[in-house]
Symmetry: C2
C-alpha cells in the first residue's frame, strides 16, 4: 500500500450547508447544485462531502454520532496566516474552538469545527516545509 | 484558505499497535520508538497517529467514542490493485468490512477498519487520474 491518502470524505447531515461553508472559504467544487456528493480538489488529494448515514454504511461502521477520532489540519506559512485563515473561517460560520496561540509543540495554531462538527486545525509548524504547490514535507 | 489538506490525525488508544499496523502495510515513520506521536509522510500530506483523548482536547470536541463521520480512501490504478492492497491490509490485521467488488458509482472498491476503528476505502475510480507521484486529480 503506497504511503499516501487519496480522499477524505466528511459525512454530512446537510450537504447544502456543508458545501456552502467550504465555498465560503473560497473552495471550488465541480459538483452541480443537485448532486448528492461534492468533491473538492485539495492539493494532490480530494475532500468529499457526502451523506453521513450512507458513508457509515459504505464504510461498514456504526456511527458514534459525534466526533470520532479524526482531525484534519491545514498548515500555513506563518503565524499571521493562521490568524487570517481563522478570520475567514469565522466569517464563513465556523465554530472557533481554540483561538490562535502558540502551541506546546513550538508552533502557532487554532482550531475550528465546521457546521457538521468536523474538526480542523489551522497551524504554522516552523519545522515542516510547505512547498509552492501547498504540499507539506516532514523534516528528514 | 487554500484548497488543500496538510495533515490527517487519527486518534488512537494504543499507539504502538496502530503504528505497527501502518508499518505492516509498508509505511515508514521517522518517529523514535518512544515518541508519543508518529508522523507518516503520505504523498503531499502527512498522516499522524496521536493519543485520542489528547486529540479530542486539542480539537475542542467531545469524543463520541466510535466512528465520527470521516472515512479516508486510498485510490489505486486498477481493480487488481484493490485486491492486492486488501490482502496486504488483511495480513496486517485490518478488519475487512467490505470485500472487493464493483460499486454503485462505477468503480471497484473494498473497505477496512484499522485496529483503532478508523475507516479506509481502497478504490479504483476509472474517472480519476492518479499521477506518477500518487497524487489524485478529479476530472475537469
Amino acid at each position: 500500500m503506497e504511503q499516501r491518502v487519496s480522499l477524505a470524505t466528511l459525512g454530512v447531515s446537510d450537504l447544502g450547508r456543508a458545501r456552502a461553508f467550504y465555498e465560503a472559504l473560497g473552495w471550488k467544487t465541480g459538483a452541480a447544485p443537485g448532486d448528492d456528493v461534492a468533491f473538492f480538489q485539495a492539493g494532490g488529494m480530494v475532500l468529499a462531502l457526502w451523506d453521513r448515514a450512507k458513508l457509515a454504511e459504505d464504510s461498514g461502521v456504526e456511527d458514534g454520532g459525534g466526533w470520532g477520532g479524526v482531525t484534519l489540519a491545514h498548515n500555513v506559512r506563518s503565524p499571521e496566516e493562521v490568524d487570517a485563515v481563522i478570520e475567514e473561517a469565522r466569517a464563513a460560520g465556523a465554530h472557533i474552538v481554540r483561538e490562535p496561540a502558540e502551541t506546546f509543540w513550538g508552533g502557532y495554531s487554532a482550531a475550528f469545527t465546521d457546521p457538521e462538527g468536523h474538526a480542523w486545525e489551522i497551524a504554522h509548524n516552523p519545522r515542516w516545509t510547505i512547498h509552492e504547490d501547498g504540499s507539506v514535507e516532514l523534516p528528514r
